[in-house]
Amino acid sequence: MAITEQKNRNSYGLLNSLRAAVWLEWQTRGNWTNPWLFTLYILGKPISAALVLVFMYQIVSGGRSNPTILGYLIVGSATWAFVDTVMGEFPRTVLSDREEYAMLKYVYIAPHRFITFLIGRATPRILMAAVAFTVTLSIGVVFLKIPIHIVSVNYLLLLVTMLIGFVSLIGFGVAFAGLALVLKRGAWDMSTAISGALYLVTGAIFPITILPGFLRDISLVIPLTYWIELTRRSVLGYSSPGMPSSWAVTLLIQIITTILVTTIAVIAYYICEHFAKERGQLDRATGN
């Protein structure tokens, strides 16, 4: 009886912690301005990122349009909105709670797993990224005539790869939150910088076949590569150079690499946490 009660309390505590974290995220980073500016905040970054690629292509093509190439660029860039928006939120939560709100130590000593709290804080960002993803694709379809046909999209594959993709994102995010624990305030830039590094090796905006051999090898063990590829395949219907031709094989590799990366990420987080505690960095405010 007592054990059952304890179990109930634990699961209730977990849900409570998640819910409170989601609510807090909305209060601190969502509910801060008028809805118009907030809309711009959600959409400005992903749309700009996609348009940078469109203009780069225009410069190269001399203004001629190729919907297949543009489709490749825009779907990759739109999917990247999830990575950019969600993954960066983990280290940002650590840094803002430590440096700006000075709340990290109090949240940390609460009787929940800190990782649960971090996941809760990142959850609203998934919703925001989903809006950005949809709007970016819609702009691509309406203005750039990229070849997406609503009836021929493989929605089931899209849903499955997205869900697994979120798990890998959380894995990366947790590891970077661990890094933020041991880094100083300047680590605000870390999420942007890491995102840039992953941008290079995940085939988000160019086929991985263009990469030098060792970078191509790295890209093959990153689950995000398969997530972006499967998203492209489910939306556009064609595969990228250097990827398995079967969607099922690609999905299987996505699952395996997600499990591997997430496990390593959680271990990395705990190692960082250990160092942060050892060096007394959990409540250390820095700045220059």
Binding site: T33, N34, P35, W36, K184, R284, A285, T286, G287, N288
Partner: protein
Amino acid sequence: MTAAHMHADSPAIQTIDVRRVYKSRSGFTFGGQKAGKSVTALDGVSLTIQKGELFGLLGRNGAGKTTLIKILTTLLAPTSGEAYVDGLDVNKYVIPIRKKIAMVSGGEQSGYGILTVREQLWMFAQFYGVPSQAAHKKIDQLLEAVGLGDQANQKVYALSTGMRQRMNLCRALVSDPEILFLDEPTVGLDVEASRIVRNYVRSWMQEQRGRTVLLTTHYMFEADELCDRVAIINHGQIVAQGETDDLKKGLQEHARFQFELAEWAPAFEEELKQSRGVVSAQSMHQKGKVSVQIALENEEYITSAMQTISSAGGHVLTLRRIEPTLEEVFMRLVGTADDEKSAGEDEEK
């Protein structure tokens, strides 16, 4: 008014009917703006602090102490009224005032964790135009004086709260200000660190004539120990000001004494109550001793009260006057002010 204030005899600080109202910002919606609220932090504050005084401003959280300090340190504009620092209008002579003042707040986390204590102090000395060599000399002196001599090359983030606050005090003094604002400077500090801060403030005042300190604090004993004069602020209004002894005396309606007797007889109390000038008498039996508290119309009646006890066969072992503490003064005044306010509000309703 301004011209009249700009001479050597002008008070260190003067405020005349200063009011400050904060207006909270409104929020946004798709449909437009929500209305904001306003809060009166200071409501007609008039104070005069002479040069060379260590003046205490006492009040609860939110009473208006910090707001007044912000106005005097040129960080905040008064909504109405006048405020002068060394005779200079805080609205007009911002830079000349800033050359004369410094401030330390309790619980300060200012500065850069990555710098050493010496570098941090040097940086602030530069903002006041102190040449580097002179700054380093002064920094050495100050750090020694507050017991941080061996921490000069320690990074700021590695300092304890007490050390950090002592460093903040050095930061304020490195520019050699004439008027120092201390806003709850010992809040959160341990006994030793608090004592170091208090002792140094006192010795800094004594080093040179004319130095002035405005101290806000929650700790009544601190104000009692340090201040020449105090003011009590409540709901943005000064409810009392003067020397601490005068305030205490003002609180006492009757002179109160306590004495211990070797033995007790019930008749003593009756005799005392009938004695001339005695307002009340109350005996207490504790740990085999008898102590009696009496209230007299005037302190001169203590002689006749003692004679009454002797005549009745009592033997007085000890006698002391009961002084009210500053805390009692504070509680009485702030409590009264609140009672009056709530009574007023009731009447309005």
